[in-house]
Amino acid sequence: MSALGDTLGRIARAPATALEFANTILTTDDAPLGAAERDVIWTHRGVTLWRYRSSERTHELPLLLVFALINRPAIFDLRPGSSLVEYLLGEGFDVFLLDWGYPDEEDADMGLDDYVCDELHWAIRETLRASGADELSLMGWCIGATLCAMYCGLPRDPESPHPVRNLALLTMPVDARSSTYARWVGDPAFDVDTVAEQWRVIPGRGVDVANKMLKPVTNFWTTYRRLWEQIDAGTARRDAYQPMARWVADNPNFPGRAWAQWIKMMYRDGDLVAGRAELRGRRVDLGRIDQNLLVVTAGADHIAPRPGTMPIFELVGSEDITHIDRPGGHIGLIAGSAARREIWPEIAEWFAERSGR
């Protein structure tokens, strides 16, 4: 076909392309999410602990997944064929998921201490009870990874063993003071506490816009242009695009108190990396982390840039440390189309080797 013919054909197809494009965008919120069946194990406030059904559990240790506060954990189980949970179940793991829910104004008083000392602690307790195990594996992603690291960095009860044997931290911010976020909120003139108090909960949509502003052209224009072109060329995969787009746009509110703590700890003072962070008067010392440790970093991560994760290696006390560093983005590395063959097997193998008696 000549170039002119191709151009004319494209113009002729434009109305149909526009219709399909609009339909894809407008019905994104109706896209089904999740591939695996699951049951509620425990709830508290808006927090839910899920256990995924499986008849192939072969590993002794249950695996608890923890995601960030600013997005939904559905990314762990996005859709059939693109679900980390589905993959882990197939590898014989007993998979639990901690879902932070959708905080609203009544949760404005929730702080990082509540998430770590109560919700995460209790979820671990319930996971152990439900599985009948004495220890578990913990895998956190993004802010969820930081919460998991903080949990393992708390002072321990000397009379009982720590329940976490294996700790996997995916694209985790440890020291974010050199990030773009820090340039936005790091100025002391920005009154974090007042904003948190006035807003009570930071709107999820606002967090979403802020995240997208890190790469404004890519997120607000290029994504849609590419979708248009794929639809026009007949290569668009609605079943792949819509679940991810729905997940990206599904942002829970960030409780004001937790948000203010996070901003100050990560972007201003660097308390976590300096060992000054405290939860309910108990100092969080990452040096207390002595679990088998897996750290995954992404080379093109603009949300939690790799340099902000690397200090973890100098802080922890673990003897068994594995670092997987790959090109990829903050989410794409673990949930992208190539993840199933490039990184999930490594993660599953790492857990499998450490999940026996």
């Binding site: 076909m1 151009t7 049951d39 709830t43 508290h44």
Partner: protein, 217 residues
């Protein structure tokens, strides 16, 4: 894709497209640099402060109007929800106390059962968790069966969530005390038992409360 001309040179459309993509990527880099500047950060921060203040003013105004109409506003609903949270927090701690006491009771009974039926006891692995001689196998089976009933009664976890909204926060000291054991545990157990009894417990699930009572008595 448009075909190349006979000389292998890019077609006009390809050239136009390459030009556009180059411009787009240049713009993307420029915008990323722009949003990374302190001035943009200051602009964003001030905008966020203003938006928060306006939201607060609008919200307060709406609540004032609704309240004068004798209707419940968002603030009233939030206050009620917080009260529910406090209740749920307390209930969660009560449930944990009950479960812990039930585990301790099971652990205490385990050696007796082992003496009476050594064959059975051997089947249950031991662990330090939850007590130095806890028969973990037996304990976990009991715990699972019991909690399974309880949660099913409320609708798979609803039994807990219905009661369960949260105040663990205010009772933070309780947990520490309990973890430390000793006197703190005893007091907490007493409170737990009372709470469980008065709550009527969602069916037989909380029968462990009865055991708790006999234990603390």
């Amino acid at each position: 894709m448009p075909e190349r001309d006979s000389g292998g040179q890019p077609t006009a459309e390809e050239q136009l497209r390459a030009l556009y993509e180059n411009a787009e990527s240049t713009a993307a880099r420029a915008f990323e640099q722009a949003v990374g500047t302190p001035s943009f950060g200051a602009l964003l921060a001030r905008s966020a402060e203003n938006a928060a203040a306006l939201t607060r003013i609008g919200s307060d105004l709406a609540d004032l109007v609704l309240r004068n109409l004798r209707l419940a506003g968002r603030a009233d609903i939030t206050r009620l929800a917080r009260q529910l949270h406090r209740t749920e927090d307390k209930l969660e701690r009560v449930l944990q106390e009950i479960e812990q006491l039930r585990d301790e009771l099971a652990a205490r009974e385990a050696p007796d059962a082992a003496r009476e039926a050594p064959d059975t006891a051997r089947e249950a692995p031991t662990t330090a968790r939850g007590g130095p001689t806890t028969a973990r196998g037996r304990r976990s089976v009991t715990g699972r069966a019991t909690s399974g009933n309880g949660r099913a009664a409320g609708g798979t976890g609803t039994g807990r969530s219905a009661g369960g909204t949260g105040t663990g926060r205010t009772a933070g000291g309780t947990r520490t005390g309990r973890a430390a054991g000793g006197t703190g545990t005893g007091r907490a157990a007493g409170g737990t038992r009372g709470g469980a009894d008065s709550g009527g417990s969602a069916g037989g699930t909380r029968a462990g409360g009865g055991s708790t009572g006999s234990r603390t008595a």
